[in-house]
Amino acid sequence: MYQPNKGSGRHQSPLVAASASRGISVTSGGSPNTKGSWTNSGVDTLFDAEALSLQVFNGANSVDILVDLGIDDGSGNVFPLLSDWHPIAQNGAAAGSGIAIELPIHVPKGSRLAARTACSNASTGCGVNVTIHEGGLNGCPGFSRAIPLFTAASSRGVAIDPGGTANTKGSWVDMTASCPEDIGGMFGCIGSNGDVARSLTAARALLDIGIGAAGSEQVIYGNAGFAWTTTFDSPYMGIRIPPFACSILAGTRIAARAQCSYNTAGDRTFDLGLYGLVR
């Protein structure tokens, strides 16, 4: 039932490592682009939550990472809540990037949240913090989980090239040829596509997300705007496509395209991770 503004809403951060002012440390696998072990804090959630805030700290220079978040049953089984979340790193010394996103995902009371990561370098650490919220916005129940709508390679998303003509949309790029399940919402993140040696001074880009067969795509979300510079050498830290509602059936092809104010090859390409919210 619709329960407007259920209660005052409790909040808990079960993965915090207060002794380091960050989330728990999670280390990637011993080989590049392989997931490490699931890590938890030993703290269980205190109440049913309908939403969570995921905050990831990537402290390594110039590497891509993927983060999985799940619920550990204590017997070696982890139920995934979100797979292959893609926070990027920036270039330069003393680099450290963070990304926070609010997700309408249900977490049952008594859950032990756990995280693991893969990285483009071997055995690289990141920090994962989660704040759970008892109430969904306006009393809305959370989704059961989020699934990636792309196949991650090299610990990053799918390369989107805006093309060689400035301020003109490039070609559509497959995110997934077939959406694996029905989804009721979508969100995303944007990365550097592994390029931290850009020469441009500033660039702006507009992104479309579409559905449909190749050659007959329909834009469902158009002209999301973002930007980057040489300082970060990438679409810089924390660029997200916040969750939005959609109703997409399993089997649907999902694609993306973009335009950019800068058309130098190599400096114009970014990578995109898209995720679907499943009931």
């Binding site: 039932m1 259920k6 209660g7 005052s8 809403g9 909040h11 915090v16 207060a18 380091a20 002012s21 960050r22 309908e50 939403a51 905050q55 700290f57 402290g59 010394a93 003393a94 680099a95 450290g96 926070a100 609010e102 913090n129 704040t131 109430g135 916005l137 306006n138 129940p141 959370g142 989704f143 301020n167 009721g184 919402g185 001074t201 702006r204 880009a205 507009l206 469902i220 158009g222 002209n223 705007g225 973002f226 930007a227 980057w228 510079t229 040489t230 810089y236 830290m237 924390g238 660029i239 496509i241 916040p242 939005f244 509602a245 959609c246 109703s247 335009q259 950019c260 104010s261 919210l277």
Partner: protein, 277 residues
């Protein structure tokens, strides 16, 4: 039942995009620092929005910005979102901020945007993507109000304190919330400091209650900054459901892992908005 809106497929409408320059609609702050400029029109809604996503772009200014989003014809604007904060950053950095705001907008309403900035006549670009439904189908809120006083186009300074990984003192964000709120959107900035030298991890608490008797409402929200970013940029926490009656005192406190190495750099600012039913 909470089903329906997105079970039939949500629509999305983009307002303000300028495809000729891969950018948005320019908004310009007032001719004096920290005064609102004129409204820029983004166009009319083709259907009712239950929420919208704001994309903010700025490559020309190191200024702090405070943004108002309104509906209505020129001269008859009604503010829906007041004092949405976007922090300054280094001159060579490029602001790119995305904020989801679940506020209802009627069909066929002109959306207008204006801003103040810490530098006179500073400009930036805005794109709004409107959504006919929110994820899960919940209805949008009526408006968002600032839960702080924007004095210099930024939020309230919060010092992590001098002891590593130990929460500093509570800082009052607002003595009395002006209306009852049902959700909180916390926007973080660098407190005007673009000369940071050290990477810092930081966690902060949002608290409520009288001075000296605060209790933690939302614990341990995390952010990070370093010498490259010169501040916690593009840090948005929320919107998070929390029901607070009008008259509530709101405070914040924080810790960081490296306070001694950059004393000025351990201070950030926070500019929360309250979503009103």
């Amino acid at each position: 039942m909470h089903l329906p809106a997105n079970m039939t497929g949500a629509r999305h409408q983009t307002l303000g995009a300028t495809t000729g320059s891969s950018s948005g609609t320019t908004i310009t702050a007032g001719g004096s620092a920290n005064t609102k400029g004129s409204y820029s029109s983004l166009g009319a809604t083709s259907f009712a929005f239950e929420g919208f996503t704001v994309y903010f772009l700025n490559n020309v200014s190191t200024a702090d910005f405070m943004i108002d989003i309104a509906v209505g014809s020129v001269g008859n604007e009604t503010i829906l979102i007041q004092d949405l904060y976007v922090s300054c950053r280094k001159a060579t950095n490029f602001a790119s901020v995305e904020i989801y705001i679940p506020v209802h907008v009627l069909h066929n309403q002109f959306m207008q945007v204006r801003c103040a900035a810490s530098s006179a006549s500073a400009s930036a670009q805005i794109i709004i993507v409107g959504h006919s439904a929110n994820p899960g189908g919940y209805p949008g809120f009526a408006r968002a109000v600032p839960l702080f006083t924007a004095a210099t186009s930024r939020g309230v300074a919060v010092d992590c304190g001098g002891t590593a990984n130990t929460k500093g003192s509570w800082t009052e964000i607002i003595a009395s919330t002006p209306v009852a709120i049902d959700a909180l959107l916390c926007v973080i900035g660098c407190n005007g400091n673009v000369a940071r030298t050290t990477q810092m991890n930081c966690i902060y608490d949002i608290g409520v209650g009288g001075s000296g008797s605060e209790y933690v409402l939302i614990p341990d929200l995390h952010m990070v900054w370093d010498a490259n970013s010169d501040g916690p940029i593009n840090v948005i926490h929320g919107p998070m459901a929390c029901r607070l009656p009008s008259g509530t005192r709101l405070a914040a406190r924080s810790s960081c892992n490296n306070p001694a190495s950059d004393v000025a750099g351990r201070v950030f600012d926070i500019a929360p908005l309250g979503l009103v039913a």
